[in-house]
Amino acid sequence: MQCVRNRSRLKLFAAAICSLGALALVSGTCLAAGTQDKTRDSYFQTLKGKKIVWIAAVMGNDLQAEWDAQFRKLASAVGMQYSLRDANFNTQAQSQAMEAAIHEKPDILVVQSLNVTLLARQIKRAEAAGIPVIQLNMKSLQDSTGFVGADYVGIGQQSADAIVKACSPKNGKSGKIAIIQGEITAADSYLQMQGAMPIFKAHPEIKIVANQAAEWDPNKAHDVAATILQQHPDLCAFYGLWGEMSMGIGQAIKEAGMQGKVGNYSNDGGARYACTATKEGMFSEFWSYDAPGQARDVMELAISILENHVKPGTMKTVLYSPMIAFTPQTVQASMCYDPPKR
């Protein structure tokens, strides 16, 4: 409930920023011919040369590559200096990168924390040192000036709702479902389960026959799914917690000749493959939190922090990314982004 309210208020805020941006753009084009536009000047003056540092959890997935490409593009458009630090799934490296960033004092620090506790103290120290911190997709325990990211609890709720609807014995289905997580202890897994579990519990006709972790590995997900399918041929749906991993589940369903009979629900940043696979029937429904949109949210939040000279601690903005949901029937090419070439 709270998050919904939060979101509506933030939507307002976001809308305000967008309209400001649009105004600047429009006035920029209209009044380009020599006339002085103070807003425009101060906009570019404020942003010029500002340093923005992003500490990624890992580089090498489409999601992060897209964010990186967007940040690069958007920052250079306004003359900001953007740099990337890659923790490469290593907590030690991430905390080092964070320590170094605090020492360097960038104007905006964007972090994608490896887990909820890792950077809590350092985020606090960074903000105390006057660096506004925007957290991206992975929320830390420590609140900071901004958070932009998927509403994993919301995704969990929406997925559970859809699965309950599709699998209910009322609709002639078995009500048996299986959940395949990444790492049970990972924040996104944990939050999605927080959203989904109460809904499954509220529907006793839905039976979770397996709840396994596949360590983000498509192949392992495939093996687990194949075993489960073998054991429960009347299974109704899989709920996989990360799209690229869930491709293995889709493959197992396909191999068992059950495509269309057994559902495969998943989510992630929504790169091209997700639309293609959904169209092919690998996924029954897919929720994308729209990576390019997230990157844009981060940059706009950063710009508004800089423009308003926001002191860290005086503002706590949360921007949950709007979700794009699609099924084999509704999917369109424009719903996915093309990951940058590497």
Binding site: R85, A87, N90, Q92, S95, H103, N115, T117, L141
Partner: protein, 718 residues
């Protein structure tokens, strides 16, 4: 003569300190030079790439990140020292982190209590490893692989149950924060703890019984077992220590980050292993030090840190780490393999040495050294009963003493010295002998120093080290080759330490080197201290006090000279040449009954040898290219005994032209009209009857006078 010759490069060569190369290479710490250099280079590169990297502020913040990794590295190093490996460190680290946060955040246990609990927990986990590996003797790699899997699974299971509790109970705690992010005198707390741990472990490793045992087990497990070291217990304790240190690391990580992710400590075992191997700690045990382990950890951490800071994308770090690791180990392996070869080639470092033109020894040349056959008729004693009697001496009762290669001193007495008894067992090889005022036999023992034997045969140590000189690389406080001695009337013992660079078994190489490696030391029984009296001598050997007790004569074997050194008066410490052009290599000097001196010569100079000494380049090439046993050596097949006066005049010369009984003579003693002869490699002692000698002459009586009342022990240290 040499003074008249013009200066040339090879003449100056003697001042070129090429011998230092070998001395540096022979140092045990040379192994650390490579990792330390790499560390310095890495730090400098870091400074170049990231300006201000070596600045104080940055170092403080980087070192904070370093401490826990350092602690685990220390633990792993201990296990590797004893020949093991511990793959489970990451699991222990994560478990300890979890335990610490649970104890402090959820249960509210005071930090002072939580810290020991966590360390004990780590120790217990280590005890599992230690029990399986040490007591049950299962392979370390497999055991710790299994425990790693188990510990990790345990961490994940516990996380499932406690993660939300710990996360929810995230509280501020001043003591806890002090451990995690506090500072002591500007240095992060965890770094201070790491430094203390490193120093303590270094001391334990190098100076404690357990540390030595662990090192011994790692170096040669079977030998350690045979030596009575409790191998099982040593290994067990190493694993306990390793896990306790890993747990401490986990605890500090918890204090610093408060993070309980499933990824805590994942891959730590590989990173730590890579670190200590980079530092040059040998897997398989026996080689390595705490400092090197730390250097390796610094290298790894700075590398990762710099790459992360430069924003290089994932994969680059492991690429660079992999390459550096390969180069470092490859270099280390080759270094270990070839170090001794390099050392062998570099250690012997010939210098320029110009000897004076030798006098002629041909019969009929009119030279005082004319070759003769006067020793041919010598009486042979103890044939086959002695092995290498370097020095011989007779006591007041006319009993004959001599040292053996085996480290014994024999005493011969009775009719024709037919009775042989083992007088003392010194342990090292006895060389020069002398009686002190109280009839204690004072002995120079090669490799051991200066020892004494009481008349009843009890051995006591006088000294085994002297003062260390300031700028020597090689530890010259050790008395490496105590060769001969004599005792001044005031009881001070002057003895030669023939070389600071070579032991007795390689004494020939000192001659080949022709450097001023020797010295004369003085032991003062009153203060029981030893000081270097004269240094920079070319293999000083025989020493003999002069009649007035104000100076002594000494022979420099490879310098082929006899000199006088003043011990009293205005010339104290000054050296003056007495005989500068001996035809051979002099050894011991002793007093004759007529107030002159006997000098033994162990071998003869040859023109080739003399020439080679003036050509250091030639000898360097020989040392580098020719196998050891083919090297040029001085002639040690023919020697003689000469008698000379205090002013250097040669009075007499005795040769064994047939080279049967006394080819290489190293010592002689006059006793009641006979001259007793010994040789370093001889299997007999001989004596010849002297004409015109005092038939009543007994060395100790002549020098010390009548015996003092028994019981006074002046020759012994207080």
């Amino acid at each position: 003569m040499s003074d008249a010759s013009p200066l040339s490069l090879s003449r100056l060569q003697r001042y070129w300190p090429s011998h230092l190369v070998g001395e540096v290479l022979a140092k045990p710490w040379i192994d650390s030079v490579v990792p330390m250099t790499v560390m310095v280079i890495v730090l400098l590169i870091a400074q170049m790439l990231i300006p201000g990297y070596l600045g104080l502020g940055n170092l403080v913040s980087v070192s904070r990140e370093f401490a826990e990794f350092g602690m685990v590295s220390l633990g792993m190093a201990i296990v590797v020292f004893c020949g093991g490996i511990d793959l489970s460190v990451g699991g222990v680290y994560a478990l300890a982190n979890l335990a610490a946060l649970y104890l402090i955040n959820v249960l509210g246990v005071p930090v002072v209590l939580a810290v020991p609990i966590v360390i004990v927990l780590g120790g217990l986990l280590g005890a599992i490893n230690g029990f399986l590996i040490g007591i049950l003797k299962i392979r370390a790699f497999l055991v710790t692989l299994a425990t790693l899997v188990i510990f990790r699974a345990a961490v994940n299971l516990l996380l499932l149950n406690f993660a939300s509790q710990i996360t929810a109970a995230y509280t501020e705690n001043a003591t806890w924060d002090f451990l995690g992010i506090g500072k002591i005198a500007g240095v992060p707390t965890n770094v201070v703890v790491l430094a203390i741990l490193a120093v303590v472990l270094h001391l334990l490793h190098t100076r404690s019984r357990l540390g030595w045992h662990i090192q011994a087990v790692g170096g040669a497990r079977r030998a350690a077992h045979h030596a009575g070291i409790h191998v099982r217990w040593s290994i067990f304790s190493a694993y306990v220590a390793c896990s306790a240190l890993s747990a401490l690391g986990g605890l500090f990580y918890g204090a610093r980050q408060g993070s309980i992710g499933f990824d805590t400590g994942v891959g730590l075992e590989i990173a730590v292993l890579a670190a200590i191997v980079l530092g040059g700690v040998a897997l398989g045990g026996g080689r390595g030090s705490v400092a090197r382990a730390m250097a390796g950890a610094v290298i790894t951490l700075v590398l990762t840190n710099v790459l992360v800071r430069l924003g290089v994308q994932g994969g680059a770090t492991s690429t660079v780490l992999g390459i550096v690791l390969l180069i470092a180990i490859g270099f280390d392996v080759k270094w270990q393999k070839n170090r001794h070869k390099i050392l062998q080639k570099a250690y012997v470092s010939p210098a320029f040495l110009k000897l004076h033109t030798p006098p002629d020894i041909k019969p009929g040349s009119g030279s005082p050294y004319e070759l003769n056959d006067r020793l041919r008729g010598a009486e042979v004693l103890a044939l086959g009963l002695v092995d290498g009697p370097e020095d011989v001496i007779l006591d007041r009762q006319g009993r004959l003493y001599t040292g053996m290669r085996q480290g014994w001193i024999y005493r011969f007495s009775g009719e024709n010295f037919a009775t042989r008894e083992l007088f003392a067992n010194i342990g090292g090889r006895p060389l020069g002998l002398a009686f002190d005022r109280d009839d204690n036999l004072i002995v120079c023992v090669s490799g051991m120093g200066l020892y004494g034997v009481k008349p009843e045969g009890e051995v006591f140590k006088l000294t085994d080290q002297t003062n260390r000189s300031w700028f020597s690389i090689r530890d010259d406080s050790i008395i490496r080759l105590a060769d001969d001695l004599d005792i001044a009337p005031d009881g001070k013992i002057y003895f030669s330490d023939a070389s600071v660079r070579y032991d007795l078994h390689s004494w020939i190489f000192d001659g080949l080197e022709g450097r001023r490696n020797g010295r004369i030391l003085c032991y003062d029984p009153a203060t029981a201290t030893t000081r270097t009296f004269v240094s920079g001598l070319i293999f000083p050997n025989g020493i003999c006090m002069e009649a007035d007790g104000r100076s002594f004569l000494f022979a420099e074997s490879y310098g082929c000279m006899v000199s006088r050194c003043w011990i009293e008066g205005p010339k104290r410490g000054r050296v003056e040449r007495v005989i500068k052009d001996l035809p051979g290599i002099p050894d011991n000097i002793n007093r004759a009954s007529d107030g002159n001196y006997w000098l033994a010569m162990v071998g003869m100079r040859s023109p080739v040898w003399d020439l080679a000494l003036t050509m250091p380049g030639f000898r360097v090439r020989m040392v580098k290219r020719v196998p050891r046993d083919e090297w040029l050596a001085p002639n040690l097949n023919l020697g003689c005994v000469i008698k000379f006066a205090a002013d250097g005049r040669i009075l007499d010369c005795l040769w064994d032209g047939a080279r049967i009984n006394n080819p290489a003579i190293t010592s002689m003693r006059e006793h009641q009209g006979w001259l007793y002869l010994g040789g370093l490699t001889s299997n007999r002692i001989t004596r010849i009857k002297l004409d015109r000698a005092d038939p009543a002459f007994v060395g100790p009586v002549a020098y010390w006078g009548a015996p003092r009342i028994a019981g006074s022990q002046a020759g012994q240290p207080a």
